[in-house]
């Protein structure tokens, strides 16, 4: 009981809680009406009001009204309660003139204030059907089919000629004079040359239109965005729709109730077809510039980087946002030339666009994730994005950058100084090995770039022994030569010594003094040996002369000859006769022997 009471109290408090609302007073009427037809004109207001006054209307007669209806609407959105009361004033009008008429604002009084509504424009058209009331009935009702005059569809395009990739709107409209119940079958044209995007449409909004003097209910059935992918003449095949049509059947009723309970309408299936359309798709003129990834339309680009300074093995995100109207769905990621050393992942794409009559509108975002693996300063060349602008008929290029990225050495590679880490290279064979320790021994420092090879010292030390050899060779040769010369001189000298010694004996030989001659020869011989060997003459005699001479390395033959001369002289001194020829011979042999001894003797 208590709870109920509280809720009732709360219910009464609700209007107080609710926010004060803007007072809105709006009028509503169909855009077009058929002459002499009845139609509704309604005004709505969201507050309690009184005294509605309609303006003067010359083309319309008020048949009925106003009838007032009231509706409540309480909504609770996220705990916020809104309470709405709407009052609707409805009039039934009838048109009486052909033309376009404006209904001036109506006024209403809210809490003593007069409020005006909006203006309304209504077109009144002439209905050429003979009997306006029986518009839905058909002349050939008996056959059960409808003529193409009564129900038909049309396909229209926004333009007949477009560039490849430029959006074209294909609109399918239904024109009908009959009551449509629904659509039972639909056959869309196959459009392999296009990328098709459906444009969102709610319920079919019907309007009245006069075509060739006939009044039709016209509704836009559907709209499609077509992005041509091929060039040349392309024909859009007709669209086929099968409608179910409510058809009044003239039936002879057997009872009054039949008419009352049973419907005198019958559902008839009617298939209608539009006309084919031929389009001309022009190729994009010119050679696509660098950075063209299929974009057509009116686009702009924004590039952002998550950071420009980082450590190795950290990641950076490059964001490229393409915004504007165009064919977003067909745009692929623009290429960013990252340094070859960066680990690069495929860009992630996120779309945020909707289809509009002008094409896709919104943004397409590409996110590139890269991870630099090595330190250094890297420059990423300008990010280029090109697209074709159909309004200008030319390519446009947008560019951003260049972007400089500074990569510092990360913590991961710091350990190299102490221990060989296992992951710096594919195949490290050892773990925990270190470089060998310093060389601490004393060593000589020498000036940089000095070599023994090629230096003067080097060549000198090579040439010196060679020179010594050459020198010694020549000295040796000269000595050999000289040695032979000395022999000759010595003999000569020895001869002169001997001649000198024998000078007196030679005189005696000439004068024929035999005894003096021999005596002088003997004295010369003894004197010579005594002088030569520095032995006093008194110590020399025939017995010891042989051993003395032998000691002095005189040849045995020479010694024999010397002794023979001594003997000959001794003997001849006392011999009675001797020939002078013998004396000459003795003189000569003495001369020769002394010379020989002179050459051979050694002290």
């Amino acid at each position: 009981m208590r709870r109920k009471l509280t809720s009732i109290v709360l219910l009464f408090l609700l209007p107080l809680i609710a926010f004060a609302q803007q007072t809105a007073f709006r009028g509503k009427a169909p855009q077009a009406v058929v002459l002499n037809d009845k139609f509704q004109l309604s005004y709505t207001i969201n507050e309690d009001a009184t005294d509605i006054r309609l303006p003067q209307m010359e083309a319309f007669n008020i048949l009925m009204g106003p009838s007032i209806s009231r509706s409540y609407n309480i909504s609770n959105i996220n705990g916020k309660v809104t309470r709405e009361t709407t009052y609707t004033y409805t009039y039934i009008l009838k048109s009486s003139k052909i033309g376009t008429f404006t209904i001036a604002p109506a006024t209403i009084s809210v809490k003593g204030k007069r409020i005006e509504s909006n203006k309304l424009t209504i077109q009144v058209i002439k209905d050429n059907n003979s009997t306006p009331s029986s518009r839905n009935s058909t002349p050939n009702a008996a056959s059960g089919t409808l003529s193409s005059q009564e129900l038909f569809i049309t396909n229209t395009v926004s333009k007949r000629s477009a560039y490849k990739g430029e959006p074209i709107v294909l609109t399918t409209k239904i024109y009908t004079q009959v009551n449509l119940d629904g659509i039972s079958d639909k056959k869309d044209p196959k459009l392999p040359e296009f990328l098709i995007q459906e444009l969102k449409s709610g319920n079919i909004a019907w309007s009245v239109k006069n075509i060739n003097g006939k009044t039709y209910n016209v509704g836009v059935f559907e709209r499609k965005l077509l992005f041509p992918q091929k060039t040349g003449k392309i024909t859009i095949e007709p669209t086929e729709i099968e409608f179910t049509v409510k058809k009044r059947v003239a039936r002879r009723s057997t009872s009054v109730f039949d008419n009352f309970f049973e419907s005198n309408y019958r559902l008839v299936k009617q298939r209608v077809k539009s006309k084919p359309i031929t389009l001309t798709i022009k190729p994009q003129s010119g050679i696509p510039p660098e950075g063209f990834t299929g974009g057509v339309g009116d686009l702009s680009m924004k590039v952002t980087t998550s950071k420009t300074k980082l450590k190795t093995n950290e990641s950076i995100t490059f964001k490229v946002v393409i915004s504007g109207t165009g064919n977003h769905k067909l745009i692929t990621a623009p290429k960013i030339k990252f340094p070859a050393d960066f680990d690069e992942f495929d860009p992630t794409v996120s779309n945020k666009f909707k289809n509009t009559v002008a094409g896709m509108k919104g943004t397409k975002t590409f996110e590139y994730l890269v991870i630099p693996r090595h330190p250094g300063t890297y420059t990423i060349p300008p990010v280029k994005f090109s697209f074709f602008s159909p309004t200008v008929g030319k390519y446009k290029t947008l560019s951003y950058g260049p972007i400089n990225i500074e990569v510092e050495k990360g913590d991961g590679q710091q350990q190299l100084s102490n221990v060989v880490s296992a992951n710096t290279r594919e195949s490290v064979k050892f773990l925990g090995k270190d470089i060998r320790f310093l060389k601490t021994g004393v060593s000589k420092l020498k000036p940089a770039g000095t070599f023994l090879f090629g230096s003067l010292t080097y060549y000198a030390s090579l040439i010196t022994p060679l020179l010594i050899f050459i020198l010694l060779y020549f000295i040796n040769r000269k000595k050999l030569k000289e040695r032979s010369n000395v022999q000759l001189l010595k003999t000569k000298k020895a001869n002169t010594v001997a001649r000198k010694r024998l000078k007196l004996s030679a005189q005696y030989l000439k004068s024929g003094k035999k005894e003096q001659f021999y005596e002088e020869v003997l004295r010369a011989l003894w004197g010579y040996i005594s002088d030569k060997l520095s032995i006093p003459a008194s110590e020399l005699n025939r017995d010891n002369i042989r051993s003395i001479l032998e000691k002095s390395t005189v040849n045995i033959e020479v010694i024999d000859a010397f002794i023979e001369i001594l003997d000959t002289c001794e003997f001849a001194r006392y011999a009675p006769s001797s020939e002078s020829g013998e004396k000459d011979r003795l003189y000569n042999s003495t001369l020769e022997t002394i010379s020989k001894i002179e050459n051979q003797i050694k002290r």
Binding site: D341, R425, L438, S443, K444, L445, A448, L452, Y473
Partner: protein
């Protein structure tokens, strides 16, 4: 006695010159041992700036860079040290270890086995050692010539002739090796990639087709020069152009 004193005196006079160098080296070594690798590498660089060098400094500098985490610099200095002392096993080992940590893994084109042998033999010593050897061998040739010329016995002549011919051949080998080793130092053809990563182009032009990607620490042979561009050849025989600023000559 007097002679001994004078020699000692001369040595003492020379001592300050040698001691200064040693102190600088020792200081840098000490920095390294205490773990101040960056200071150590600076100290070594200072010594090198004075226009002196030896393989040991390059080796130690390479070690300091390696320990500071600068791989390309370490490789560069090991390579320089190796040029000066191709026979040094420690340099070889550390260089190999550093190379194994570079990103680019390159296959080597196999040389003809004979030239590989010759190369291995040549790298057993540096230019100076081969030069000394060549002097010794040449002196030997001359001595054999003496013996051949002045000896009177046939056996000695024969022996000296053959030994002489052999040492002449060895002299020519060591002479050419010494020349080759010097040429390696004088005409330095190789370079190390210093940029963390560099794209090698097909032509000396920024818009050239990108052929392959190289990373820091990779050793390349500079084949040709055109303005700012260098044509490089990889050990697997691939060729391409890159900007001179991305590499550092050994």
């Amino acid at each position: 006695m007097r002679r001994a004193i004078s020699i000692l005196l001369a040595l003492y006079m020379l001592l300050p010159v040698m001691a200064q160098e040693d102190q600088r080296l020792e200081k840098a070594n000490e920095l390294y041992t205490t773990g101040k690798f960056e200071d150590a590498s600076k100290a070594y660089e200072e010594i090198l700036k004075t226009g002196v060098e030896n393989p040991q400094i390059y080796y130690n500098l390479g070690n300091s860079y390696y320990k500071s985490g600068l791989l390309p610099q370490a490789i560069l200095n090991y390579e320089r040290g190796k040029l000066l002392a191709p026979q040094d096993k420690d340099i070889e080992y550390n260089l190999e270890l550093s190379r194994s940590q570079t990103i680019d893994k390159l296959e080597k084109v196999g040389d003809f086995f004979l030239s590989r042998w010759v190369g291995t033999l040549r790298d057993k010593a540096d230019s100076d050692i081969w030069a000394y050897l060549s002097i010794a061998l040449f002196t030997g040739v001359i001595l054999m010539l003496f013996l051949f010329y002045f000896s009177r016995t046939a056996a000695l002549k024969k022996i000296s002739f053959f030994v002489g011919i052999l040492s002449l051949f060895l002299f020519i080998v060591s002479f050419s090796f010494s020349y080759k080793q010097k040429q390696k130092l004088v005409n330095r053809q190789y370079a190390i990639i210093f940029a963390p990563s560099v794209t090698v182009k097909s032509s000396p032009d920024a818009s050239g087709t990108e052929i392959f990607l190289l990373h820091e620490g990779t050793k390349v042979k500079v084949v040709d020069t055109l303005g700012e561009w260098r044509q490089i050849e990889l050990s697997d025989g691939n060729k391409g152009w890159l900007n001179a600023s991305t590499i550092e000559g050994i």
